[in-house]
């Protein structure tokens, strides 16, 4: 009985010591992982910003106008309004 208690105490101490070591190692490596993830996040947000800037530049109205005139589109000079035909009574 006395021996069993001793063994249990040794096992518990062993588990605690192992888990403490494991936790220390784990947190240390997690710190590196967090650091890597932060770098990746910065890279991705830089990439996102770059693509967004590119999109904004492409959607610029002044650039579209330049492009359209280069493609041969011209602003209409005269507008013709087409009126719907008025209803006319049928001849008897």
């Amino acid at each position: 009985m006395k021996n069993l208690r001793k063994y249990i105490l040794i096992v518990v101490c062993g588990v605690l010591a192992t888990s403490s070591t494991f936790m220390t190692v784990e947190t240390a490596t997690s710190g590196v992982e967090v650091s890597n993830l932060q770098k990746e996040e910065t890279q991705l947000s830089d990439e996102k910003r770059y693509l967004q800037d590119l999109l904004v530049k492409t959607m610029s109205l002044s650039q579209l106008q330049e492009r359209s005139s280069g493609l041969g589109y011209v602003k209409p000079v005269t507008l013709i309004y087409v009126a719907p035909p008025e209803a006319v009574a049928k001849l008897p």
Partner: protein, 583 residues
């Protein structure tokens, strides 16, 4: 016996040694205690701080400034990231010439242009050859594309620091409306003028903070815990400014200024019912991305900051007041219009010195008759005229959401003499801003309500949107008076001096104004300011527009300058706003 003295001596020797050693240990202990006291107590706090600074890190996270959007949701101003390129001359070493040659090609507009490339190379070389420094900024505001290209060269000793920047997809379009982002005395970003200035606080957001412990390699120590206060990003502003209308207005204004030889000009387009400002442009202007290269005088928006004598466009307000007060009707005949009107020691004449005895009030507006409108002014009297001008918002700020608005004050009530009354009736001796005129005429267009002009429609945060509140419209004249005045303005556009400029099939309510320019106590004999204000369609107006030109040289009359410019812009607005021709 012989041994005794020897023993005694050795004992004595031993005791001395022990005492000496004890004394030495005591001395060392004392020194150690003093030293420990010094490090622990006297220097303890400093050392503790020094140690903490090695393993703790704290960083202020900047709040990104909000974007400014056009009415269709596209970007007017987008916040982006630029780069400050720096160099460590020690690391660049003897390669400064080749590095300068490589970098210079990225920093000039045309790398083949030797005239710009050589000075840039020389500038860079001077910076890269600096001795005794390890950080030299070599180029600011470098965009992502250029940064990537330089990065790809992997030049040792060249580094990049990010900095927030504003990108303007439409270049200098709407510059005076938007304002710009500059720095304050502490180096922080601050919005100046226009929307940037007015909405600086919501656009700026609130910076955050991240604190924690880090190991020697800079990785976070999770057991140490972290403190984090998230940055609150600035809100986005959805404006009422329509990019297409703004583009048309700026193009036509620029052409008009050149065509009529004016020194400058402005155009404002507003929805007279809601008060939404659809476009506002002035020339000369500036490029907000390079604001530091322009004179400060170009930053203020002339439409809201500069006052001018309005001239004949002011007659519509006096006539509307006369109609509303019941002192005249459209058919009232002027009984003092057969010749120049003598007021005190002055003679009031018509613009062409042609007089119309018994002219109707409608024709007073059509012919822009100074004597006829003085007749209305006299009928109103100085007190009522003052009250109506007050109602129309003349002399008070319109409350537009742009920084830099001013409003020249009206002469105090009760101090107006007969000459003031007569000249103010046709817009002389009184000063207004363009925005005041637009708002006042909008009240005629919308049936009698004074509205508050609005540039920003709503503010948008992360997952929420809120409309910008404005003061409710206030009725200032009756609907009937507004309708009668509108009809008079339609007649003026159809039969007045500017009738040649009108577009067949489209009804417009409008009025020209040619005003003398006060210079040092007298009027400039050579120059005049021209304006045209109008709205369309008269019965259900979609826009009210004011065009002003400063000192046009091609003609002395607004009917030949501002009016055709107004119609050339309106010609594009009609189909865009769905206004149909009656023909």
């Amino acid at each position: 016996m012989l041994r005794r003295p020897k023993l005694w001596l050795s004992f004595l020797e031993m005791s001395v040694k022990i005492y000496l050693l004890s004394a030495l240990f005591l001395l060392l202990f004392g020194v150690l205690t003093i030293k420990l006291f010094y490090w622990q107590v006297i220097k303890g706090a400093d050392l503790s701080d020094e140690a903490r600074s090695q393993y703790t890190s704290s960083q202020v996270t900047s709040a990104p400034r909000g974007n400014i959007l056009a009415s269709d949701g596209s970007f007017w101003v987008v916040r982006t990231q630029n780069w400050l390129i720096w160099a460590d001359p020690k690391e660049v070493g003897n390669n400064s010439i080749s590095v300068a040659q490589k970098l210079a090609t990225f920093f000039v507009d045309d790398p083949n242009n030797k005239q710009s490339l050589f000075p840039e190379t020389e500038r860079l070389q001077n910076l890269l050859s600096k001795s005794g420094v390890s950080w030299v900024p070599i180029k600011q505001k470098v965009d992502d594309g250029v940064k990537r290209n330089i990065e790809a060269l992997k030049i040792p000793g060249i580094g990049f620091d990010s900095e927030e920047a504003s990108y303007y997809p439409e270049a200098s379009s709407g510059a005076q409306l938007l304002g710009f982002v500059g720095k304050n005395e502490t180096g922080a970003d601050v919005g100046y003028f226009g929307i940037e200035g007015y909405y600086d606080l919501p656009l700026s957001g609130k910076p955050g903070f991240v604190g924690g412990q880090k190991d020697a390699l800079g990785s976070p120590i999770l057991l140490g815990g972290t403190t984090q206060v998230s940055a609150i990003a600035g809100v986005d502003l959805q404006t009422n400014i329509d990019k297409r209308i703004q583009g048309v207005v700026e193009d036509e204004l620029s052409k008009g200024i050149e065509k009529y030889g004016a020194s400058g000009g402005s155009v404002t387009v507003m929805d007279p019912v809601s008060g939404k400002v659809m476009a506002m442009a002035s020339s000369p202007s500036f490029d907000p991305a390079k604001y530091s290269e322009y004179s400060d005088s170009l930053f203020k928006n002339p439409v809201i900051s500069d006052s001018f004598e309005p001239g004949s466009i002011f007659k519509v307000l006096i006539m509307a007041a006369g109609l509303d007060a019941g002192v005249v009707t459209p058919d009232t005949l002027c009984d003092i219009c057969s010749g120049p009107l003598k007021v005190d020691k002055y003679l009031i004449r018509t613009w062409n010195d042609v007089y119309h005895p018994g002219i109707s009030m409608t024709d007073v507006i059509v012919d822009s008759d100074n004597v006829g409108i003085s007749f209305v002014g006299q009928k109103l009297g100085a007190g009522k005229l003052y009250d109506y001008l007050n109602k129309f918002g003349i002399g008070t700020k319109t409350g537009i959401d742009l920084q830099g608005e001013s409003a020249p004050k009206l002469r105090d009530k009760g101090t107006w003499n007969v000459v003031d009354l007569a000249t103010a009736s046709f817009g002389q001796g009184i000063a207004v801003t363009g925005m005041e005129m637009v708002r006042a005429v909008a009240a005629i267009a919308n049936g009698g309500y004074l509205i508050t002009p609005r540039v920003v429609d709503s503010i948008r945060g992360d997952g929420w949107e809120e409309k910008v509140k404005s003061d409710p419209p206030v009725r200032i004249i009756s609907q009937q008076s507004a309708q009668e005045m509108t009809q008079m303005m339609v007649e003026a556009a159809d039969r007045g001096e500017a009738k040649w400029a009108r577009i067949p099939g489209f009804k417009v309510a409008g009025k020209t104004g040619t005003a003398q320019i006060p210079v040092a106590g007298h009027y400039d004999p050579a120059n005049t300011n021209h304006s045209f204000i109008g709205f369309a369609p008269p019965d259900n107006p979609k826009f009210v527009m004011l065009v002003t030109l400063k000192s046009p040289q091609s003609s002395p009359w607004a009917a030949e300058t501002a009016a055709p410019l107004w119609y050339s812009i309106a010609k594009d607005l009609f189909p865009y706003l769905g206004i149909q021709s009656s023909q």
